[in-house]
């Protein structure tokens, strides 16, 4: 810079400096302050939010840590109980197989001893397993009973004749038993006659009487008295009885 330039610059610097108005300066400074405070506040807010997130995360982690042993214990319990359950299930299965075998045998031996085995099996389950498993065993037991019941209820594959059955029951000879059966069949006819005599044809004194001879005697009396409606009624009654 030459001497003249320096003189010119010095002269320029001597010129009185203009100043911005106070109002403009106040506005600028106010804006700067507000922006700075806002920044500080936003920073504080950010710090607070980060702290809140950290606290929440810590809380979650602590909770997880607290709950983990419980889960472990629970899992251990399950792990320790599972073999027992398996054992009991295997016992049940074995017993079930035993039952199946027994059912097979029961078809030949009329199912003796099956319910004892089933009861034994269900007892094992009841001792070693939980309530739900007990229910399972009970339902299983019921189903087994349903399966076994027909086998137990089918020990009469061949129908016996009535005399044979009576002879077996009472211990009579075949002839005696045959007579007994015939008298039983007469009683059955009387029973049928009674069942058919609902109206009794207006013969109030014979209501409930099953003696055929008495009805025939009454029929003759009514014929003599010319009570033909009642005669017809009694005759129909006797015809129905005979038809039966």
């Amino acid at each position: 810079m030459s001497h003249d330039d320096e003189q010119l610059s010095r002269l320029y610097q001597q010129i009185s400096k203009a100043e911005p108005s106070k109002m403009v300066e106040a506005r600028i400074q106010r804006t700067a302050k507000r922006t700075g405070v806002a920044k500080r506040r936003s920073r504080l807010t950010r710090l607070l939010s980060v702290a809140a997130v950290l606290v929440l995360s810590l809380g979650v982690v602590l909770r997880v840590i607290e709950e983990t042993p419980v889960k472990k214990d629970f899992e251990e319990q399950i792990m320790t109980s599972e073999p027992t359950a398996d054992k009991s299930m295997s016992v049940e299965r074995q017993e079930g197989n035993g039952l199946d075998d027994a059912m097979m045998q029961s078809e030949k031996e009329a199912g003796e001893g099956i319910f004892e085995k089933e009861t034994k099996a269900s007892r094992v389950i009841t001792d070693e397993k939980s309530g739900s498993l007990q229910i399972e065993s009970l339902s299983r037991q019921k189903s087994v009973q349903k399966k076994v019941a027909p086998a137990a209820a089918a020990p009469i594959p061949e129908p016996e004749t009535e005399p044979q059955r009576a002879a077996d029951v009472v211990g009579l000879s075949n002839n005696e038993a045959r007579e007994e059966v015939l008298s039983e069949s007469d009683n059955a006819v009387e029973a049928d006659f009674t069942a058919l005599s609902e109206s009794w044809c207006g013969q109030d004194d014979l209501v409930g009487v099953n003696d055929r001879q008495r009805w025939l005697a009454r029929l003759e009396q009514l014929k003599q008295l010319k009570q033909f409606e009642q005669v017809t009624c009694i005759e129909n009654l006797l015809d129905q009885q005979l038809a039966q």
């Binding site: 010119l8 002269l11 506005r27 804006t31 920044k39």
Partner: protein
């Protein structure tokens, strides 16, 4: 009170210390305002532009990087704002007067009113070409180097050097007789 450099003050302001901005503002308020005022010649317009410049600074400080000089950045904003102002205004007719005409006109019209050389200098500034005046005032107010002024003015170093040489010559001729003062 410890004097922080510009970048330290900016960092402090970004940290929420508004007093750091006050220091920065006090340091550069007059150079910036006079750079504007010497060109627009109106207190109100200069106030508006000045306020706008500093509001832009406040808004832009969060994204400011320390690679450049704050003062150069500040004057870049001021010059851009002035350019916007000139675009909105009807462009000033450049006064293209040769040296003899400058001297004659200035002295003829203002000699009786100019009490001293400083007033003559201010009058001479107004008849400089805008880019010459801008380069001269920017150099006088900011104290920046030719390279920095070239960067701010978005032109080459030699261009700035040429503008400054023309401005100095015109002013020197208009201020003849002030050497003794």
């Amino acid at each position: 009170m410890k004097q922080f450099d510009d970048n330290e003050l900016i960092d402090q302001y970004r940290s929420g210390n508004s007093r750091a901005f006050d220091q920065l503002y006090q340091r550069y308020r007059l150079p910036v305002f006079n750079y504007i005022f010497r060109q627009v010649k109106s207190q109100n317009i200069a106030d508006d532009i000045f306020q706008d410049v500093w509001l832009r600074v406040i808004k832009s400080i969060p994204g400011y990087n320390h690679q450049g000089q704050f003062l150069a950045w500040l004057f870049t904003i001021a010059r851009n704002r002035l350019t916007d102002h000139w675009r909105q205004q009807k462009p000033e007719e450049p006064v293209d007067i040769d040296d003899e005409q400058i001297a004659d006109s200035v002295l003829a019209e203002h000699v009786q009113f100019l009490k001293d050389c400083m007033e003559r200098l201010l009058a001479l500034l107004q008849i400089l070409k805008p880019e010459q005046r801008d380069a001269f005032v920017l150099q006088q107010e900011s104290g920046l180097s030719l390279d920095e002024i070239a960067s701010i003015s978005d032109c080459g170093r030699e261009t700035i050097k040429s503008r400054l040489r023309y401005a100095m010559n015109k002013l020197r001729k208009g201020l003849e007789g002030c050497d003794e003062s």
